[in-house]
């Protein structure tokens, strides 16, 4: 399952990290609640593209999605964000998630991508089902998958 964390942001109780995949990148959100783990996984995905702290919260968009289980819901959440980034040409640096029985209500704050300021390294093509996992471990939720870049 995954690999050793190689980049982390431990600045708060909920946090994210990347884990190694040979060609691409694993994203892992960790938090006291499942919703926070989902928020952090989204932040980890942004961090593949740019430093999330450089993204200004100028605009908020709403995302609603549903899936038959938690793991497919995580993939659906991340893929909804990929779609919004792609069609709006935006990056997001802050997320809020509510989970209600197989449905996700999310908000994402961000701004239009600015190559001069964001230096975006790579675009995310989609969230895969490889190493896809949502689980409660020792009182902490983790939400992770590998994204194709």
């Amino acid at each position: 399952m995954g690999g050793d964390p190689i980049v982390s942001d431990y600045g708060m109780r909920a946090h994210w990290e990347h884990f190694a995949h040979e060609a691409d990148m694993g994203v892992r959100g960790i938090g006291p609640s499942k919703a926070q783990a989902f928020e952090q996984a989204a932040l980890a995905m942004t961090a593949i593209i740019t430093d999330p702290s450089t993204v200004k919260a100028l605009e908020m968009i709403r995302i609603e999605c549903e899936a038959p289980d938690d793991e497919l819901l995580l993939a659906e959440w991340l893929n909804s964000l990929v779609y919004e980034m792609s069609t709006r040409k935006m990056l997001f640096g802050r997320f809020a998630v509510e989970l209600r029985q197989g449905a996700l209500l999310g908000r994402a704050w961000g701004e239009r991508v600015d190559p001069e300021r964001h230096h975006p390294a790579v675009e995310v093509k989609g969230a895969t089902y490889t190493s896809l996992r949502v689980a409660l471990e020792g009182g902490t939720w983790i939400a992770q998958t590998v994204v194709d870049v």
Binding site: Y83, K89, A121, T128, Y129
Partner: protein, 472 residues
């Protein structure tokens, strides 16, 4: 990978015997050194593919294989619809029909070097590249459907290129059986401003020169001589293909149970070829192939326009255009098979009816992209490649190091300066992107290509090295 798990059939051919739920063996084409370098995940993924319904002969692994999603990248598998065979969205991947196109220029490197910086600037200005970039083309709904049905042929009809270009593209530039109505509104929306864009990550446009000829007769038939300048374009079906992968991965994963398919890995999501979902995916995936072919055709037009500004004497006909991530219906051994190639190149041998007249004696050009510092290869399909792995060969060097390890190891500016000292001009909007694609982050493309030739998958024709690299 642990060699003890494998049976060595030949010097460059290794077998994982069918065991457990495997319906066929898995076969790896590689040197001993390359097999040792392969992650154990490649073993697991090749074994999982061998469990899928209707798989024929073997789950094949190319010399550049690495850990992918469901299928290994560098995986080849063929399925027979008459035996309950499946089509897998995971077996094609997100970047449907990602591929390489090679253009001649008619120039030698001295002429190019005299205008190298100016040409790099014009190419970088003309070709939309990087995250969030858009092209100058906006497609409405009806025009998107026409593009998805017509591929490069649609692009030529709209003034991006010449009719003779189509002869040098797989499927003559237009994949038949495409069904734009099977493509979701979301997928079409992702593409409406992305036609004629290069993308990011490992996608690139390079101006290269031929630094070695390995087979002079094949090189002559391909129109290549030492020191010739060529252009290689590496990109795919952009946001549309990515969204089709996302859409069908989910639908197939959720439907697998209803079709009675036990998935060893959810990423192997698939559906019977003879099912509504399987047919819908094939129609959408073929439309994405057309999107990739149209995109590379528009990029070709932009390259020609750039050269016309700086080196007007250049003529840029296509040598060939290959796709890496596809599932295609082909005839092999008298059977109609759905051949998945995930990070693998089709490599038809001499005489194959799909090849254009001018290349029929030579065999299909197989274009192998390396890293921006090491060089790329032009190979040719052979008679033996038709027997080995459904006419398939490798597609690139394959990563040796993760993106984060690479970006922690090198600085983009230093990579660009080191390449400049070797006469290679790089233009990119992202220094971190350049660091993640540093030459040393990739495996040795020479070893991969040597193994492909030794295994009989393709024959080496020429090696090319970059002069200009436009990187996403």
């Amino acid at each position: 990978m642990d060699l003890a798990l494998l049976t060595r059939r030949r010097e460059h051919e290794w077998e994982i015997p069918a065991q457990g739920a495997m319906r066929v063996p898995a076969v790896i084409f590689a040197s001993e050194a390359l097999v040792r370098q392969m992650d154990h995940k490649v073993f697991e993924q090749a074994v999982n593919v061998a469990m899928l319904p209707g798989i024929v002969t073997a789950s094949f692994v190319m010399p550049d294989a690495h850990w992918g999603y469901g299928f290994p990248i560098g995986g080849v598998a063929a399925f027979d619809a008459d035996e309950g065979g499946v089509v897998s969205a995971g077996g094609v991947g997100f970047d449907v029909s990602c591929g390489v196109r090679c253009l001649h220029t008619g120039l030698k490197s001295a002429a190019l070097r005299a205008a190298q910086e100016a040409l790099a600037d014009v190419l970088y200005a003309e070709i939309p590249v990087g995250v969030g970039s858009t092209g100058g083309i906006h497609l409405g709904v009806a025009e998107t459907d026409a593009m998805l049905a017509g591929g490069a042929s649609w692009a030529v009809q709209n003034g991006w290129g010449d009719a003779q270009d189509l002869q040098r593209i797989e499927e003559r530039g237009q994949m038949s059986g495409a069904d734009p109505h099977s493509v979701s509104a979301r997928a079409k929306q992702r593409q409406q401003d992305e036609m004629g864009t290069l993308g990011s990550g490992n996608h690139y446009l390079e101006v290269q020169h031929v630094t070695a000829i390995f087979d002079s007769e094949l090189a002559r038939q391909f129109g290549l001589e030492l020191d010739d300048v060529v252009v290689m374009i590496h990109c795919g079906s952009r946001g549309l293909g990515h969204q089709i992968g996302t859409d069908f991965l989910k639908r197939m994963a959720m439907a697998a149970g209803a079709y009675g398919i036990a998935l060893p890995d959810r990423e192997l999501a698939c559906a019977p070829i003879r099912s509504e979902l399987g047919q819908s995916y094939l129609g959408a995936m073929r439309a994405a192939i057309n999107c990739a072919l149209a995109n590379r055709q528009i990029l070709t037009h932009l390259v020609r326009r750039s050269f016309a500004h700086v080196l007007p004497e250049a003529k840029l006909p296509i040598l060939y255009d290959v796709s890496h991530n596809t599932c295609k219906l082909e005839q092999h051994g008298g059977r109609s098979l759905y051949v998945h190639r995930k990070g693998a190149t089709r490599a038809f041998g001499p005489g194959h009816p799909e090849l254009p007249e001018a290349l029929r004696d030579a065999g299909q050009p197989v274009l192998i992209g390396g890293s921006m510092g090491t060089g790329s290869y032009i190979l040719a399909g052979t008679h033996s490649s038709q027997r080995q792995a459904f006419s398939s060969a490798c597609h690139g060097a394959g990563r040796a190091m993760s993106r984060h390890q690479a970006s922690r190891t090198w600085r983009g500016r230093e990579v660009i300066e080191a390449l400049a000292a070797r006469g290679i001009t790089v233009r990119s909007p992202s220094m971190r992107g350049v660091a993640e694609e540093a030459p040393e982050a990739y495996k040795d493309v020479n070893a991969v290509v040597d193994a492909a030739e030794a295994a009989g998958l393709a024959r080496k024709v020429a090696r090319v090295e970059p002069l200009i690299c436009i990187k996403g």
